[in-house]
Amino acid sequence: MKLGSKLMASYTGIVLIAVSIVLVLVIDDSIKTYKERIGSDLQHIAEFTARDIQDQLDNDLEDMSSYSRAFVFQTRDPGAIKSALAGFRSSLGLFSISVLSPGGKVIASTDTGTEGKDFPDMSGISLGFFNRIKSEARGSVVFRDEREGEGKKVFRPILLMPVFDKNNSDLIYVIAGGARLDGLVNITHEVDRYSEADKALYAVTNPGQVILTRDGEVTIFTPRTYIQTDPGIPGMAGNSESGHSIYRNREGQVLLAGYAPLEENGGGFSGWSVVSFVLQKDIFGPAVELRNKIIMLGIAAVIVAWIIALFVSRGITRPVLDLVKATRQISQGDLSKRANVMSNDEVGDLERSFNKMTDDLAGALTCLKEEMDAQGRFVSMISTEFRTPLNTIKEGIGMVAKEAKDKLDQRQKGIMGLAEKSVDRLAKLIDDIVRFHHLQTDKAAFDMAENDINEIVREVQRVLEPMIAGRPGIELVVDTAEDIPRTRFDRDKIMRVLEGMVNGAVTVTEKGRITITTNLEGGDNIKVSVRDTGVEISKEDKDSLFQKYCASGKNVDKKGGGTGMGLSISKEIVEKHRGRIWVDSDENGTTFSFTLPIDTGNQ
């Protein structure tokens, strides 16, 4: 599988996640919008219902008022009153009807056996309350709490209508009519369009209690069965205005509800509301289900995308790590290392290219090595071929000069001396070239052994003493640190480096001091410096000083002796010891330094 396809699969997963998120957001947004709209509809239903209930109660009161007036003016005889009450009840469509004295005693009633007693079971209507509202000319509605066993409540609206005498000054009776509340809430509004009839409900509530539901049950269960009416949640209690909201009932079901207050009617409806509500899941169930499915799909997409990404990244990172490893090994000189081609994708191509490149590199290196070897052989041959004639010239000149000493004049002797010196220099140059070449091609064997650098310094001092003695203007000072540990290096080669440095210093110093110092540098390096008080070396010369076949400073050349190869050879030697070599120079003189890593050979 191509990398592109793997990535595409991964991208598809990511796109799926994005689409899921967008869909869920859209669905959530729609649900929110519809909740608002349905809430508002439910509110209207509640408002209509509240108005209907009130209208009906108002009508009942009005009917009772006109009936009672007519009736009361006809008779004051309790027997006659009682016999008239039955017709009264049925024509008003009431549950029961009683005539009460202003003191609250039953004078006559359709409920037999209550005469002469207090108006029965006036829960919710204390005598004080009765006394306060009994004179309300328009009539009042109060609710009687009729208990029917444990936990069941029946609320019955009682219509109270005062009857005054002819002068309208004295209260003669109060007529109490029991209305049918179930009839009131049978008013069905369009709540059905949101839900199945048995699930769409509305209820009349008083503060904190559900009084009545639409399904006809006048007896309402414990108030919190349907709706959790925690204080502070609007709609359940004491609303002065209509509205809509979302509730959670005891079972944790979410309800959408609209509510409307019932207007106070002689105090009877104080704090009562009509609430219409539907279960959210009945309406949004399918939508929520879809939404959850999409979320599941999104999660599945996340997992799939993650797995694919894991495979892709493994498919990339593992070969890449292998490549890195191979590269490191190759850079350390193991050109036989190759990457394992494991996949057929672009990474595989990379590995193949890498292997091809390494093959080429190895081939090129072999060629280069062969070339270097050939060059080395050539250099060796040249030098061998050069030396014999050179030595012949040298020895020959020496001999002739010696044998013909008496026959040569001063000028001829000078020429012979010059010839000898030139041949010497030529021979030395050839030696240097060969040595340098050997160092560069790793042919020079290094005789590594534990040595004391300070001893080398003293040795060089001893060797160069005769030369220094011949230069009265120059003082050679040795300043060695005594805490330097013995370390492994090639004694002869390092000595040659140091000798070369001191020689160079002597050459460029007309008059002054040359100081050889040794000290520890950073704890793991030995530093050796040769400082002179000669001329400053220019920046350009400093840069080219250690370059192969590059002549060192002009002063060296002028004063003779060096072949210009010395520093290049020194650099090769020091670097083969994993050390550094450099030069610092200012108007006060020049310091050549090199370092050797401390290596006791224990590793």
Binding site: S380, E385, T388, P389, N391, T392, G396, M399
Partner: protein, 124 residues
């Protein structure tokens, strides 16, 4: 028994030479280059030196010069296969500068070489 020092950088040639000389009843010491030869000679002075000319390290002519400087009576026979231009010039150098008593261009017949050695040793 006369001792002969053979100086040549070619190991096989030296080996061959040694066998031939030992067969003829000489004691042989060998050196691969001039430096080695000088050191050897210090410990085991030879009655005759046979030296190659073109060698890595210290080459033949200067070795001969040095040997003769240190041990003025030493007798040297030089031999060379020559470099780019053939052996003549080198052999001439060995004779005039190095002081070789006889010179041989490589390849040579061993009989002739043995004859020359014998003659030079007899001269004393």
């Amino acid at each position: 028994m006369a001792r002969i020092l053979v100086i040549d950088d070619n190991d096989e040639f030296r080996e061959l030479f040694r066998i031939m000389l030992e067969k003829s009843g000489y004691e042989v010491v060998e050196a691969g280059d001039g430096e080695e030869a000088l050191k050897l000679y210090e410990r085991q002075p030879a009655d005759l030196v046979v030296s190659d000319i073109i060698m890595p390290g210290k080459e033949g002519v200067s070795t001969m010069v040095e040997l003769r400087r240190r041990y003025p009576g030493v007798k040297i026979i030089a031999m060379s296969g020559g470099g780019f231009e053939g052996p003549d010039e080198y052999l001439e150098s060995a004779r005039l500068v190095g002081g070789a008593v006889r010179v041989f261009a490589k390849p040579f017949k061993f009989d002739q070489m043995l004859e020359a050695i014998k003659e030079e040793l007899e001269k004393g």
